[in-house]
Amino acid sequence: MDKHRVALRGASTAARRIALAAVPVAFLAVFLLWPVGAIIDRGIRPGGALDLSGFRDVFDDPGLRHIVWFTFWQAAVSTAITLALGIPGAYVLSRYRFRGRSLLRALVVVPFVLPTIVVSAAFIALGVQESLLAILLAHAFFNYAVVVRTVGGLWAHLDTRTEEAARVLGAGRVRTFLTVTLPALRPAIAAAASIVFLFCFTSFGVILVLGGPRISTLETEIYRQTADLLNLRTAAILSLVQLAAVLAAIGVSGWARGRRDAALGLRSASETGRAPRGWQARAFLAANLAVMAALLGTPIVVMIARSVPHGFSAYTQLRTTARGFTEPPIDAVWTSLRYAVVATAIALVVGGAAAFALAHASRRRRRGAARALDALVMLPLGVSAVTVGFGFLITFDRAPLDLRTSWLIIPIAHALVAIPFVVRIVLPVIQAIDPRLREAAAVLGAKPRRVWREIDLPIAARAALIAAGFAFAISLGEFGATLFIVRPDTTTLPVAIYRLLGRPGATSFSEAMAASTILMVLTALSIMAIERLRIRDVGEF
């Protein structure tokens, strides 16, 4: 009888968890698995019968084998470089209090929205030629923010008490970091690493522009086979290979995140920050600022410089309807903002539901289902944009999902890319919440939904805002991610930039740079505004 009742209670909370998990599962099934599945299906079942002979062709081709190997290699090395640069940056931006910190925190995300061409122009201006090195540096440039934000989101909340304990026990700063801080950050670092790895694994623009035509990866090859050659058979095989690789990478990262989700004493982010004390701290801060300036500042400076070759005419020009536009390019700002708001909302809802479902699932059994969901939410980063884009075309062509030419398809595509970020930034923080706090709330009479609202939500709120800022930036910059989605006649800012770049003439180019500068400022401002948001009666945590 007792057992039965307890089981009943378990069932109702389990039902709640399943309902929570159903949101991301349904969204990703419809907007990712279905279109991708459809396009792969066309490739491997051209006439209705399964044709896997493509596999042999692919693996017999040493060129393709090399591409697979190279794709792994460059992604792994890029990830290592990004982590090495980004973790100190995360520390500085989450633990030191100094003037201009919030601006800097917003600025590090700017690379995410800059067109690859701008970056490559900057790298070339710096004397870095098209090469492998250029690819690695550019990957570090783009993904620095991923590490800073994913890791910093947790770091800002870590209680310093255990670090102090280690110091008192004779551990120096580095030792303390390695033995106490690092294990606590492990889930966040593993999360950042997996995102960066997947980004580099499927990176497109950087490889094309900075690698030169001699370097190709699975992603560029899939693009070529699909978009240029319409060779769906080979593309499908390559997509499956890519998928397998991505799943393997996700598996490794899940293992690296560790099984034990130790609750950490979390503190308000405002309490853990301190002004740098002592010359070592100041030197460390200075070194990191120098890295940021070199890595992030240079391209930005080059971009701004090239937007003003003859004063600000390029900016004023954007207010008039240029050749090739049906409206002034500056109007794209509003379109971009509107899409970004919708995309961010979708990503927060879907990613948030996934994060909470995962946080609860990992505490008890059902690890198998949890792992599957965990991998599923990462998948959007591991699937070719061209595969998704072409998949959309052939799946959403009938009611009720005749979305191919609806504007909604664009924010949905942006949200797909942003969801992994939301999950990876929010989940480590939720998992670190001491379960005793939830128990205390329950004892004080809060029912489960209320516990969630009063404990999980406010504590994860800051992380969610960080994730929201990121989602917003992803949507604003959306370029590489959704290049292949058709769009109705509304133009987003990056598309306007691309159009301007696609036209000959010096003025078009400086207008493109001007639009990029506007995009950058817009991004920085939006992120700062989002992170200043305060959810009512939650206060600042």
Partner: protein, 339 residues
Amino acid sequence: MLEIDHLRVEYSGKPAVADVSLAVPDGTVVCIVGPSGSGKSTLLRAVAGLEPPTSGTIRWDDRDLAGVPTHRRRFGLMFQDHALFPHRDVLGNVAFGLRMSRLSAGDAEARAREALASVGLEGFEHRKVRELSGGEQQRVALARSIAPKPRLLMLDEPLGSLDRALRERLVVDLHALFRSTAITALFVTHDQDEAFALADSVVILHRGLVEQEGDPQQVWRRPRTEFAARFLGFSNVLDARRVDGVVRCALGPVPAPDDSASGALRVAIRPDGLRVADAGNITGEVVGCTFRRDHFLTRIATPHGTFEVATAEPAAMGAHLSVALDPAAAVVLPAHADR
């Protein structure tokens, strides 16, 4: 009225509470004492519905609580490690339970302020909880659990990190609160003074089992097992025998209750039940002496074991002293009780 019946709670197969039966009648205060790790916190957690019982039942007013989730039980629990909400300020923590009970925000705040004042934390309303001293945190936790006036109040070490003066004041206040509101309470403490000052009934827990239970004075004066005796400060325990109705130990005859069995027995005496005599029964050498505020605790090694004796003056190490017994202070126990 809370009734716990043959409760057993296990953590991964190992029992933390092995088999506890206990009743807390309405309006009474029951205090649980016991060594570290004996299952006190686990017992409270099980009553609050935070740990599922492995077996046994917990009932409130004859209703089985098995299917009732924590937030519906309307029990209060002050956690041993406080579990304050780091994202709320002091007032927000204390007002939390009041808000959950659908009090208006204004009323909740007023009552929270009252509760804070009662633990001496006026003016701390808007402090961050992580920036409080240990004792201040504990008082916030206490105020938080008391403020919503739960029908059963459970406190896990409520005054552990407070200084004596403040603790005595709060003991008096809690005592008044318990009496005036006829609150039903179950609390855990390591401070036996506190336990004996506040409780209507004391329960000694040992390895997840009830070792002894009863009226505080009764328990204090007449422990029934060797474990309980040692736990309550009867640090001198020696063998005894009952011969012809008289119980004798190395220190002399001891008055025995009628019901004690004959044959091998044990006798337990507190340090203040022994004294240094000019001609005691046993003589030994002083091996230690520490100051204990109002007396010295002198350790004297004798052929019958080492005795702890309360003395008014410090004793020199190595001195030879005799030990005598105040027979009224001795308690007779069955031999080979557990441990």
